[in-house]
């Protein structure tokens, strides 16, 4: 209470003194506590310097924020900064001229920029094929495996590191009275990050980075099909529980202590600490030992900030300053601790570690460590147009697989075919 009032007063004072400051705006798609932290960070930025005044505004959900930004851009009313989620990144990056590459913006404003400062897993996802940052990575997370400590103790087994190990321990967990595993958002976990963790190619044209024209998705390959045939077999044997496409529906059995493992987001630990009344730990998302070169880092999820084009020079300078402020270790650690998203620079990670944060919250470190694993040829990211629609196709086929309406191979053939049709359509929209 005191904190917010204090801040409100602070902002009033600032508003009166900041008459000469350049105003910049930031549209984001976050609500609840995360939305508040965005406000706090903006206050901190405004308090830290006099030249720029940043106003963040919530534009609903990620999709609503992107649509608002698009509508505004077409009318010349765009904000300086727009937050765009992972699956929508291809849309805004393909629209050359809509944004200024974050790296160009920062160096152009005379600020320092070094790609190597960022942790490996976030370095490429929003960059172009040469590694130049187009979007500024902001809120990032990784898919990790949570486990119920008690369940594993009861079954007398260790949490699995690979899917082969899972196949060994799962029956024992089942004997101990647990559902061995559930997983949320199979598109993110078992397709996209199956590709990254096992270093598998996801699409032609260098996972879509090199060109929009002619990019084709690769999902009906032997290994991808094998992953889902295993999942289906595990589901039939009671080793894996499938609860539809909803995130929370798949999390619930773990929260209730019925499921021994849950594949979820690295940021989920904050909510779990409130909703689960048992001890839990976390480990990397499993990979297949049998696949050569597996065990690489995962893709990030979340969103990035894009600097919109068509703004005056002095505003762009302010945007650049804010991007630099955002990547400072202090801001990153503040964001990391308050929201559960991973810090995006190595310095911030070291700082949080130095403060002993991971001694209190060991689970918070898992996602970062997974993102810092070795980078494989195919673990940098993917750039696919109309990707939200492709995910929808996948979700539909996954429901069919687990209800027995279709075979795994047939389902992935359908995804491949419909996905490529969508990509071909997207290629026609690009300039």
């Amino acid at each position: 209470m005191f904190k917010t009032t204090g801040m409100a007063i602070g902002s009033m004072l600032l508003a009166s003194t900041a008459f000469a400051a350049t105003d910049i705006t930031w549209w984001h798609g976050m609500g609840g506590r995360n939305g508040e932290v965005i406000n706090e960070i903006s206050q901190q930025f405004n308090a830290a310097q006099d030249a720029c005044h940043l106003t963040p505004i919530s534009k609903g959900t990620y999709e609503e924020a992107l649509s608002s930004g698009i509508a505004a851009f077409r009318s010349g009313e765009q904000p300086n900064i727009l937050q765009v989620f992972d699956a929508g990144a291809a849309t805004i990056i393909a629209a050359k001229g809509a944004t200024i590459a974050a790296e160009d913006l920062i160096t152009g404003a005379g600020e320092e920029f070094n790609r190597e400062n960022f942790i490996a897993g976030v370095r490429n996802f929003y960059a172009d094929s040469d590694g130049k940052f187009i979007g500024m990575p902001f809120n990032s997370s990784a898919p990790i495996m949570y486990f119920n400590t008690e369940a594993f103790e009861k079954a007398g087994v260790q949490p699995p590191k690979t899917w082969e190990e899972f196949e060994e321990v799962a029956p024992k967990l089942k004997e101990a009275g647990y559902l061995p595993m559930t997983a949320s958002q199979l598109t993110w976990m078992m397709v996209e990050n199956f590709k990254s963790r096992n270093n598998q190619q996801f699409a032609t044209n260098n996972n879509g980075y090199d060109a929009t024209q002619g990019t084709e998705i690769i999902v009906n390959d032997e290994n991808q099909v094998m992953m889902f045939e295993k999942l289906k077999a595990w589901a039939d044997d009671g080793l894996y529980g499938f609860y539809g496409a909803g995130w929370a529906d798949n999390l619930k059995p773990f929260e209730e202590g019925k499921a021994a493992m849950w594949i979820g987001s690295s940021g989920s630990f904050g909510g779990l600490q409130k909703s689960a009344d048992f001890d839990f730990g976390a480990g990397f998302m499993p990979y297949w030992d049998s696949i050569e070169g597996a065990g690489t880092q995962s893709f990030i999820g979340g969103a990035a900030l894009f600097a919109m084009a068509g703004k005056p020079e002095e505003q762009n300078t302010c945007t650049a300053q804010f991007f630099s402020f955002l990547t400072s270790p202090e801001t990153q650690v503040y964001w990391h601790k308050n929201t559960g998203y991973v810090p995006i620079t190595e310095a911030a990670y070291e700082m949080a570690k130095g403060e002993g944060y991971y001694d209190e919250q060991p689970v918070a470190e898992v996602g970062i460590q997974q993102l810092m694993l070795e980078t494989g040829e195919w673990s940098k990211g993917y750039r696919l147009g109309f990707y939200p629609q492709i995910r929808t196709v996948m979700e539909r086929e996954f429901n069919r697989i687990f209800s027995g309406e279709t075979e795994v191979k047939a389902a992935f053939d359908t995804i491949q075919q419909e996905g490529n049709a969508l990509l071909a359509r997207f290629a026609k929209t690009a300039n």
């Binding site: 917010t4 801040m7 902002s11 534009k59 909510g271």
Partner: protein
């Protein structure tokens, strides 16, 4: 004169139970802690966090400026609801009057031209609509928030239906008395339509009150925040990473029901106009 059968009440009570149970559960759930709602679902019994939640919802100063209070959101929602309902009734009564009571060229065509607005929802044409608003410099204005929503045929269609069922003798009598179109409209038709106006006022008030997407797109200033945005923003958190403050969303929704229900109570007398002493 009519007999009241217990059976009638039974049907009504059953209907009300089916329809109102969720509302009651929203009210009860709003007095529980968020984590409780997350883990156990809706409640039929009150919990212990009511005062705390409602105090927070009413006094919390949210947003970047700290100006987003329950009161501000309430005010904006009221402006949306009232502006929309009043504008809608005025525009659509006049249009329906012209379509029903006048013989002129294109009457049918114009009816269909207005009617067609029911066929393409705002979500579909939202991008071009935004561009139009930007060209007219109506972004971040109450006019821009309310007027575009008036472009829908519901009211016109409704009043057309009603006017057509008004006995022709009224107009004949009025013409014999020498009343012109304006006088007939204001002195006879408007008073006659009170029940209908009350019904459409309530519906339209709630419609304006509950707007979400259009205000979200149209405004970039926190001073335009409405209750609906407040509610959505509470619920919209990164699933799994945090537990949404369900209790606060429910509390806001319960509070948001008060003004529309108050409108109903105020308009209650108009509703009853159709009944007279002989029925009692």
């Amino acid at each position: 004169m009519q007999k009241i059968k217990p059976f009638d009440h039974l049907i009504l009570i059953l209907g009300v139970l089916f329809l109102c149970a969720p509302v009651v559960m929203a009210l009860m759930s709003s007095t529980h802690a968020a984590i409780d709602i997350h883990s156990n679902g809706l409640s039929l019994l009150p919990g212990g966090n009511g005062i705390e939640t409602y105090t927070k919802v009413l006094t919390h100063r949210g947003g970047f400026t700290g100006d987003v209070t329950g009161l501000l959101m309430l005010r904006n929602s009221l402006i949306m609801g009232l502006g929309f309902a009043v504008g809608k009734i005025a525009l659509s009564m006049m249009a329906a009057y012209a379509l029903v009571y006048f013989r002129f060229r294109f009457a049918t065509l114009l009816f269909w031209a207005i009617f067609a607005t029911l066929l393409l929802p705002l979500e579909v044409r939202i991008m071009p609509s935004y561009q139009v608003m930007s060209e007219l410099h109506l972004l971040n204005t109450y006019t821009g928030l309310i007027v575009p929503l008036l472009a829908s045929a519901t009211g016109t269609f409704f009043f057309r239906q009603f006017f057509r069922s008004v006995p022709d003798e009224l107009l004949e009598a009025a013409r014999i008395d020498g009343a012109g179109p304006v006088k007939f409209f204001i002195d006879i038709l408007v008073p006659l339509s009170k029940t209908m106006m009350a019904a459409i006022f309530i519906i339209m008030f709630i419609y304006g009150w509950n707007q979400y997407l259009w205000p979200l797109l149209m405004t970039t200033d926190e001073s335009f925040y409405t209750l609906m945005r407040g509610i959505k923003s509470i619920l919209q958190v990164w699933v799994g990473s945090q537990i949404p403050d369900y209790n606060e969303a429910f509390a806001l929704a319960v509070l948001a029901m008060v003004p529309p229900v108050a409108v109903v109570v105020i308009f209650q007398r108009m509703f009853i106009k159709g009944l007279t002493e002989s029925d009692k």
